[in-house]
Symmetry: C2
Subunit: 382 residues, 2 copies
Amino acid sequence: MGSYTNAVVRDQSGTSNGGDGGVAVDKGVDFANYFCTYAFLYHQKEMLSDRVRMDAYYNAVFKNKHHFNGKAVLDVGAGSGILAIWSAQAGARKVYAVEATSMAEHARAVVKANKLQDVVEVIEGSMEDVVLPEKVDVIISEWMGYFLLRESMFDSVICARDRWLKPTGVMYPSHASMWVAPIRSGLGDQKSNDYESSMEDWYRFTDQTKNYYGVDMSVLTKPFSQEQKKYYLQTSMWNNLHPHQVIGTAATVKEIDCLTASVSDILEIRSNFLSTVTLQNTRLCGFGGWFDVHFRGRKEDPAEKEIELTTAPSVNDGTHWGQQVFLLDPPIRVSEGDKLNASFSMNRSKENHRLMEVEFGCEIRQYSGELLPPFRNRYFIE
Amino acid sequence: MGSYTNAVVRDQSGTSNGGDGGVAVDKGVDFANYFCTYAFLYHQKEMLSDRVRMDAYYNAVFKNKHHFNGKAVLDVGAGSGILAIWSAQAGARKVYAVEATSMAEHARAVVKANKLQDVVEVIEGSMEDVVLPEKVDVIISEWMGYFLLRESMFDSVICARDRWLKPTGVMYPSHASMWVAPIRSGLGDQKSNDYESSMEDWYRFTDQTKNYYGVDMSVLTKPFSQEQKKYYLQTSMWNNLHPHQVIGTAATVKEIDCLTASVSDILEIRSNFLSTVTLQNTRLCGFGGWFDVHFRGRKEDPAEKEIELTTAPSVNDGTHWGQQVFLLDPPIRVSEGDKLNASFSMNRSKENHRLMEVEFGCEIRQYSGELLPPFRNRYFIE
């Protein structure tokens, strides 16, 4: 054996038993697959070093102190406790910082080192199990995964909101949206080559196994090619896209009001969108997906200063979320004025409710009026 | 968030709840952490492309057909089924190929493609649960992990042996041993630098967090440095050592008779060993660990041709197991004739019974007679 290693990119810890959305999830498996990562200070540091992320939350809190001053606040997934600490520094009367991993212990130390132990109470436990002594005025959380919904952490925020937010309470962030846009990229050619050479390698392998060891493995060629296609071409990729790589108008495929959204609203995302190519004679190499969140307070109790956190392609303001890239293989020649009539859907993976399966369907009407053959591709966000 | 990813080296899926050896293990967690990897054809191909591994098993079977001819064979952890197929090709009457992952389906296809479906029965299930219609004459299995015992898969072979091997039965392989030797390597300097720059980075980070965001995180400096030390310097590394990097005599720290060994024999490995430096004026940069297994049959029913599979440092016969390197930071100047009086111990990690914790203690008496200050270091095999 000796092929089992924690450092293998292909080691998809994506084998949680069941949990296709609402369904119950084995907590031990979920912890092994998911939470454990956040128990590393290295990862906390990564997130705390994301200036775009930090500035947005920092400004959201300190430019809207009226939402925090004298209030009770709940921080869902507190990690090292920074949001809870900011809430306290902004005048909160009490902050409950709920963290599922052993990072809670470090959060407690940071809170104490910043002399806020009388205000911030760190609770180690999963949000679904925690019992608070009171309802809160504000729920603050940094729950966003790649392309917003990966990790399905918003479920826990919804659970916290329904159980612990006062009827007059405010959500931080208050709104979220998912964006997609047609892109050009060299990644597709690269991944396509990787796939090809991986298959050539496979054919060498089956020949050798037959010739040296008398066993015909060629019956596995199809499943192997499927496995490799999925890995190289159907798995979305993290990428920090340059705005120039976006070749058409971006479209919103989902808008979430964090105050009212239910789990069933995010279990499945379905949307049709239009996009117009804005570049002369280029290649449609796939789609980019990203998100933004907004801190607007609540209609009856709005933010004094609205803050936006966007993970859109940017030259100077990239985030650790980057964008998710869904490749088209082979690319399609398009040009300015061509119209994409597209459909998007996203569901949770059956094997791991924190991972996603995506489908893009697209019909392209060229500026000339000619209709290109439509395509429909499935992708996996792992 | 968005720091959770299946492709992160630091993502230690090592959070199985309990299972420090004998203790029961959550099967869902164990599957998510361990078995899932072997469900990928890519990994099977990796192992099937290891010529040293393949040749050893191939020769063990076909140069000892008398052990297989007309016999009942059990293949533990069959993967793609190659050992089961060889056993059948060597004349086995019946082969039970037990595989815990969905790879069983592929194994079934390969068996059929090689027209052995009447002899080889592929059973998808964990060895601990499987019930066979008869006892077997041979148990064949490739159960070895890095440094032999990582993965703790031999437990399942022992279980299979105690339940299903005839009193006259034969184990393939029949014996195994673990080796250690003092080595020189540039890896230590590299990892030591990585650790240093990671800490410099951390200090920049805490300064920024204090100055820009008003939160003092310096209380986490010690736990962060411990986390990084563990990651860079205390975690053993896969390496394909050149024989010239071995600077002293190698020693056996464990010998296993696969026919008689019990789980309690391998839960904890303890050994004292001596090694003499064989190189003039060099650096002791740590220890290398590897293993070999032997196919000797059984005393009353020996192999006609004994086969050895070794993963020792080699110029041309490297394996996918490589060697595990345990670094010494800083290195120690040693020279020919210096005597190492060392102790070795290995236990299973409390968090994940398939991972290991190792300790090396060492006292060096120089050829001159002078005694260097002793050291004792802990390592993690992840």
